[in-house]
């Protein structure tokens, strides 16, 4: 017992996955995954449903065995140890509170198994942290979803694990509660100083909470970094469209200098900074965020350092308060999305208007994907199902309903 107790630090430990592969009969869920999470960080694993997030967490917790690879926690190889021997705790997606025990006994469970002193006192402390100490003698069934979620959190945190795994912990909560819990989780993480590995399919949640986000797709990490960095400089089309929206183009590199490459997009030269492009020769895919585009109803004068596309026709205008979204069909290129701040009263262009777009060449990015894999238009996002746009719309509807009821 003493040996395992000693490994529970006061602060978090770093986690390292080396070449982890997990095959289920007839299905490879994770393919040689490498991941390194520094101690004390709030790390989010973001990806669409079915991409292998839960499997990754279960491997780290020891609930599944990897087919190949190594798992190191705080530098120690734990690949062959049992779940109860790992300094790791999980907040399960379904909470998995023990229905036959009181809230207090649920929270004290881990402490009692490790025969730590004063399990009841520590459990009360953890319940105070999530502001539920007054419900300590109830059963899980007598709590609301949000309260159960907090108990699950307290039950894991009370053990002061080196690494806390959270599997879409806020997925079952309604929007308002989810927002509130996002803030609370973040506060608690800072307070207790543990390493959090948070799994979610909600890009907004990942971006607001995490220090570092890893975008996962089909069992692989597509890109990892700080949220702003991922958004500003996506490396693949999947990331470019899973985190927000992007306008993507393909074409051959026609000239290349020390600072920039020029790509021929349907006859128009588009300049991308060399440092922001993953590929510098041959057929490439490049992109730019919709809010970086400026809309013109007359042909803008060519200027150094600006890319211009057009003329095209406005096919759709949707007003959303602070900004307006325009869809512009440019012959030979496809549909472009433009988010324009509403600086003037009413839209600057209506459906059918002839339009040009331009953007600062420094804002473009070049992708690492093979151009043949890139869909022509942002309106067919790469991610299966979870289009960020539709998520945003659902959110807005949910929020409006909530406000109406209040």
């Amino acid at each position: 017992m003493a040996a395992s107790t000693a490994s529970f630090a006061e602060s978090g430990a770093d986690l390292e996955l080396v070449g982890i592969t997990k095959r289920f009969p007839g299905f490879t869920a994770i393919e040689s995954l490498d991941l390194s999470i520094p101690a004390g960080s709030f790390f989010a694993l973001l990806g669409p449903s079915g991409c292998g997030k839960t499997t990754t967490l279960r491997l780290v917790a020891g609930l599944e065995e990897p087919t190949a690879g190594q798992i190191l926690i705080g530098g120690k190889d734990v690949t062959d140890t049992k779940p109860f021997q790992r300094p790791v705790n999980t907040v399960f997606q379904s909470y998995a509170l023990f229905p036959h025990m009181t809230i207090l006994e649920n929270v004290a469970f881990g402490l009692r198994r490790r025969k730590l002193p004063d399990p009841v006192g520590k459990a009360h402390e953890a319940l105070k942290l999530v502001e539920l100490d007054h419900l300590a003698s109830r059963r899980p069934a007598q709590l609301s979803g949000g309260q159960q979620q907090r108990v699950a959190l307290a039950r894991a945190i009370v053990n002061r694990p080196a690494l806390l795994l959270l599997d879409e912990p806020l997925g079952a909560l309604d929007l308002k509660l989810r927002r509130q819990m996002q803030l609370e989780l973040k506060t608690i993480q800072t307070e207790v100083g543990l390493t959090f590995l948070h799994v979610t399919h909600d890009q907004e949640e990942a971006m607001t909470m995490a220090d570092t986000v890893a975008v996962m797709n089909k069992g692989k990490i597509e890109q990892m970094g700080a949220p702003e960095q991922l958004y500003e400089l996506p490396r693949t089309a999947f990331v470019a469209n899973f985190l927000g929206q992007s306008n993507l183009f393909t074409g051959p590199v026609v000239s290349s200098t020390a600072d920039a490459i020029t790509v021929d997009v349907a006859g128009v030269p588009i300049v991308v900074p060399r440092t922001r492009a993953q590929r510098h020769a041959g057929e490439v895919a490049i992109g730019v965020r919709p809010e970086k585009l400026t809309l013109f109803t007359e042909a803008p004068a060519p200027a150094a350092g600006r890319n211009i596309l057009g003329p095209g026709r406005v096919t759709d205008v949707s007003f959303s308060g602070v900004s307006t979204q325009y869809l512009i069909e440019v012959p030979g290129i496809g549909e472009l999305v433009v988010f324009a701040q509403n600086m003037v009263f009413g839209p600057v262009a209506t459906v059918g208007t002839e339009a040009w777009v331009s953007w600062n060449a420094d804002h473009g990015f070049g992708l690492d994907d093979d151009p043949v894999d890139i869909p022509r238009s942002v309106l067919s996002p790469v991610g299966p199902g979870d289009s960020t746009e539709s998520i945003a719309i659902q959110r807005r509807i949910a929020l409006e309903e909530e406000l109406e009821q209040a």
Binding site: A61, G62, L63, K82, P83, F84, V88, N89, T90, F92, Q93, S94, A96, L97, F98, P99, H100, F109, G110, R113, R114, R138, R139, Q142, R155, A156, N159
Partner: protein
């Protein structure tokens, strides 16, 4: 009667239990229905069910001689001299021993089988699932005769041991079916949470799996005991010279069943009744406590 049949009465009763919609256009008929049809039907049905039990109970106080058929007068004698009938108490004791042993064995084995069948993937899993149904589907005479033949081949002397083995065998199927349903409804994440929270495999079983399966296991055990205590056919084939309570009654029936048999039957019935009442009362008390906790 205005063409009112018990079946109609039942339909109407179910209709009444539903959301209070009602058809106010024909209030007279409905009220008459509620007033008389249903209670009469219910009383008749209950009488039909309870008369044999009432008969048994009443005739345990019959001041009869060897034959306990006609009412001879009231007495407590049979209750105080239960064991005076030769072999009666011994056979009853045998039934209790067999019932308890077979219940413990069948419940333990059946629970483990049920968990294995639901939680683990292994070869021949579905075949085993199917085969476990067979003892329930096979006529008891066939089971009993088959077992007897095997004990004969093995040269096992028939007695308490062979009865216990036979009863354990047919009870296991019922235990597996009962407990399996409970295991299937148990979220595997609960056991995983137990492992994640530093529970060793045995701690997870005894602190999480077992308490959560307990209602199913208890139901399976009660069923096993009832089946074993009740069994005559399979026992008769495999008991040799040892008598169980049902076998004693069967043999006694040829000469006339003594009133002491009614005493034991009534006592068992009363005990079961007390258990049920205690269970119901404690459940109601618990529900009340829970209701008080909720806002």
């Amino acid at each position: 009667m205005s063409g009112v049949t018990p079946a109609r009465g039942l339909d109407e009763a179910m209709f009444d239990a539903g959301p209070a919609s009602g058809s106010p256009s024909r209030p007279g008929r409905r009220i008459r229905f509620r007033g008389l049809g249903l209670p009469i039907y219910t009383v008749l049905a209950l009488l039909f069910l309870l008369i044999p039990i009432a008969y048994t109970f009443v005739f345990s106080f019959n001041d009869s001689g060897k034959l306990n058929i006609a009412w001879q007068g009231f007495t407590f004698d049979k209750w105080t001299s239960v064991c005076s009938v030769q072999g009666l108490c011994e056979s009853f004791g045998n039934s209790i021993i067999v019932g308890l042993t077979a219940t413990v064995l069948a419940t333990a084995l059946g629970t483990l089988i049920a968990i294995a069948l639901v939680r683990y993937r292994f070869k021949a899993r579905s075949a085993i699932s199917l085969l476990l149904f067979l003892p329930m589907a096979t006529p008891e005479v066939v089971l009993g005769a088959g077992l007897a033949a095997q004990f004969l081949t093995l040269g096992t002397e028939k007695g308490l041991l062979t009865i216990i083995l036979a009863h354990t065998m047919f009870c296991i199927s019922f235990v597996v079916v009962t407990v399996k349903a409970r295991v299937a409804s148990l979220d595997p994440a609960l056991e995983e949470a137990g492992r994640d929270l530093y529970g060793s495999p045995s701690q997870v079983f005894w602190r999480i799996t077992f308490p959560l399966l307990l209602p199913g296991i208890a139901a399976a055990a009660l069923l096993s005991f009832a089946l074993s205590f009740d069994d005559f056919i399979i026992t008769n084939f495999n008991s040799g010279s040892v008598d169980t309570f049902p076998k004693f009654i069967y043999i006694a029936a040829a000469r006339g069943i003594p009133a002491q048999v009614n005493v034991i039957a009534s006592a068992v019935f009363l005990l079961a009744l007390v258990l049920v009442v205690v269970a119901q009362v404690s459940r109601a008390a618990r529900a009340k406590r829970l209701a008080k906790l909720l806002p």
